[in-house]
């Protein structure tokens, strides 16, 4: 990519978010616009992948809501992400833990990383 284009998009990349990766349990505080009002919605779940790089990076958060699996994709550099809290570090062997989708109950747990 052209170096000027690179530096232009580098200006828009957020550096204030904590470091998290697949397997971690996070809470995303996402701004929602309703007409003129703005409120913050919390969404807690396990990160199952981080995808793309640079300004286009996204991450997928999976949670079980009322017994139904829900996945939500957030653009990492979106100005609508107020903050991301890391609640728990997970111990996983791969960068994309899609196998969670087929696991039910106790099998769908992720081991906590002991440091």
């Amino acid at each position: 990519m052209n170096s000027i284009v690179n530096s232009l998009s580098a200006e828009m990349i957020r550096t204030d978010l904590p470091d998290f990766k697949a397997g971690d349990r996070v809470t995303v505080f996402y701004k929602i616009k309703e007409g003129n009002k703005e409120r913050i919605q919390q969404y807690q779940g396990d990160v199952i992948q981080r995808r793309n790089s640079g300004i286009d990076e996204t991450f997928t958060v999976r949670k079980i809501s009322n017994g139904i699996g829900v996945e939500r994709i957030f653009p990492t550099n979106s100005p609508f992400i107020e903050k991301v809290e890391v609640n728990r570090r997970g111990k996983v062997r791969r960068a994309r833990i899609f196998y969670l989708r087929t696991q039910i109950g106790k099998a769908a747990r992720i081991k906590e990383k002991r440091s």
Partner: protein, 205 residues
């Protein structure tokens, strides 16, 4: 019509006010020198001629150097005329990205990427012969009929067929200006622009 000449640098994405990610093109536009001002009295129509892009003197012809000397400038790579310009400029003035406003809509002219020899489906948007089954055999992307029988007994001129595709002048309309960087002469436009990265484009507003 006003505008600038520039270079397409590449594409990236930005977030708009609604938090939506939009694809955008970065263009290095200007600075352009006003190399000639045409008036309806003298030239029969009103226009300004802009020149852009440095080049070495050994690559310049005496005629263009003489023409540009009137504007007290060296010869440039490209000159473009903008007809019926409303800008009040003088010969030798330099125009830059400050002529654009944030949020306004512009058109961009470029030379589209060459695709080589392509069939009618890619070149003209034909749908091919509809079905892959029911006895169809290697007709999926075929043009179908190209004319009638012994009357007229020939294929009409201009009938759309396969051939060289792309590499022609294309204009993209109504691209919104998302960002202007006056220090680096950059304009960021919403959406895509015809041509390769590094190719010359004309921004018209």
């Amino acid at each position: 019509m006003d505008g600038l000449i520039g270079k397409k640098l590449g594409m990236t994405s930005m977030f708009d006010d609604n938090g939506k990610r939009v694809a955008c093109t970065v263009i290095e536009a200007g600075p352009c020198v006003v190399s000639q001002i045409k008036t309806s009295d003298k030239d029969g129509y009103k226009a300004i001629q802009l020149a852009w892009g440095d080049k070495k003197e050994k690559h310049s012809v005496a005629a263009e150097m003489g023409h540009m000397a009137k504007a007290k400038s060296s010869a440039k790579r490209k000159t473009v005329e903008f007809r019926d310009s409303d800008m009040s400029v003088n010969l030798g003035d330099t125009l830059d990205v400050s002529i654009f406003e944030l949020g306004e809509y512009v058109d961009v002219v470029g030379t589209s990427k060459g695709k080589g020899f392509q069939g009618v489906v890619k070149r003209h948007g034909f749908s091919g012969v509809g079905e892959a089954t029911h006895g169809q055999h290697n007709r999926l992307r075929a043009p179908g009929s190209i004319g009638a029988c012994s009357f007229p007994g020939r294929v009409f001129k201009g009938t759309r067929m396969a051939g060289r595709t792309g590499g022609e002048r294309v204009k993209s309309f109504n691209l919104q200006v998302l960002k202007i960087d006056a220090d680096r002469n950059l304009v960021v436009l919403k959406g895509s622009v015809p041509g390769h990265n590094g190719s010359t484009v004309i921004i018209e507003k």
